[in-house]
Amino acid sequence: MTASPRRLAVLSMTGRLRRGQRPSLDDAQVREGLELMLLSRLFDARATTLQRLGRWGVHSPVEGQEAAVVGACLAVDPGRDWLVPQYREFPAYIHHGMPLAGIAAFFTGHPAQGRIPDGVRMLPIQVAIAAQLPHAAGLAWGLRRQGGGAVVLAYCGDGATSEGDFHEACNLAGRMQAPVVFLVQNNGWAISTPRSLQSATPSLALRALGYGFPGVRVDGNDLLAVHQATATAVARARAGEGPTLIEADTYRYSFHNTTDNPAAYADPVELAAARRQDPIERVRRYLTQRGAWDPAREAAVRERLTATLDAAVNAAARLPPPGPDECFDDIYARPPARLLRQRAGHGAPSEA
């Protein structure tokens, strides 16, 4: 059997650079990353609370995976590159230009106000597992035809790699030399199915070999490692050399989403071990040692982020609820006569 690829790691848990490693981000950029990670954790807590109160839809927390998400998105340029999310990459949406108010509007049931603003190069969230990956390949291929060097960053999870769409997307992307980076967040779980039951392969990164492009494995709780690997992949894609598959090993601290109860299946010892590898604490230590972070600064940042979050959530709460007409208006670019009739009677069968 092929050996598992070496796992790229840049930062130790004590926040020190590992031997021979240099940071691919300067301190200001790492601070930006840390702020996004802190915002993400505040957002998870808020969305979960609001969901429990019946004021938010189903929420899928990022908690524990912040470095895997943020390290990757910091390596793409929102001004020209595209983000193709699944549904667990909140801080990447923010970094790519999606307003927090729009996210809050969307998840509180206001699709019109939750739309992605024009000019923000991001596809909508995708909850059909792995379905976004062929889209990412096709989008990337289309961008390459236009020239300009734009790259697509697509996220998926470890469970998604077992889907047919993953295989077909990777094969198509490799065959078409599409400028796409597939970032697999291996968070250990597909709802309650552990990674060990997902596949016999020792590393999901190995799969890239079969598609004719590189597969790399990184410590997904290491912001600088994820960034470095993604930056290399992005440069490769920009240069017309095709896709890269990145497996970022991380761990889902919490539930799959708010309908799930991991207490029924997760091992508390494993979770405690994962928490000792916390991605935020690692960056906090790194920046602190470099004199670029301290508790006072963090307190100020948290206060600012909380205020931003409050404002977005409160603005969403003030939006009028969508009317039933909206259900009928958006199915086609122009509603056909039958839908207009159904809208007029709001679906009373005799009017349809």
Partner: protein
Amino acid sequence: MAELSYRAAVRDALREEMLRDESVILLGESITGYGGSYAVTKGLVEEFGPRRVMETPIAEAGIVGFAVGAAMGGLRPVAELMTVNFALLALDQIVNSAAKFHYMFGQQWSVPLVVRTVSGFGQLGATHSQSFEGWFASVPGLKVVMPATPTDAYGLLVSAIRDPDPVIFIEHSLLYSMRGPAPPSGEAGLVPLGRAQVVRQGQDVTVVAYSRMLFQALQAAETLEREDGISCEVIDLRTLRPLDYPTVVGSVRRTHRVVLCGEDWRTGGFGATLLAEIQDRCFDDLDGPVARVAMRDIPLPYARNLEHLLIPAAGDVVAAVRSLV
């Protein structure tokens, strides 16, 4: 009058739209070397090059998903799936991606995608001889087109390519070599989506058909006129979703009798949906039950004699009409 085949009409529509609009691209299995499973795209890669006529791996979900992504990025992809039987592998991408993006995300995303595929039979066996238009036509967000004539194949495909919504365009394998009047060139040849056509006017019974069944219905109408003196009004639906209810309902209200024809299964087939609508809107106008010509609820056998026995044909339409009059 100039004539051309159904196959050539589809090819002309693809070619002319590719000439008119650089963003129109084709992708599918064996569409370059072989011209697709029914040689529709033959010659197009030579004219437009492999960047616009893309040979893909065998991966139906991947092809449709790839085309959805390309469409969201601003292209107008026309994806070919060899037959509608293989479209089952792409159902999730068609139903949960192509048909949903415009609805779920504040009107932001159009998916101007055409999936061209093929219904039909001919000793292809149980897995390759099915009709799924009723499934696709049940999905909000999709448009479903099934042309019967070269003129409509051309005009409807041009409209489908220009349409902002995803369109499932189902051709029929037994019609490809059928010849008919060439469509008028240019914009005059456009056939709008969502409009049925009264192909033969009549007073006694309305016969609703589409795709190959149109010709079975027309043949039946001739027989009934000649042998029984029954006057059939034959309607070609052309588009199954959105469906031209006014044309169907208007005709049924005049004739008071209706036969619905399709090649798909009687249970859950497209005719079942249409039947429900007609009884809802025309109940007091009807002088008899709504009759259907459909595939019996069995997979199509491979044996030639059994296939021939089971495929809905003109004789079945004649029998259905006679049962009403």
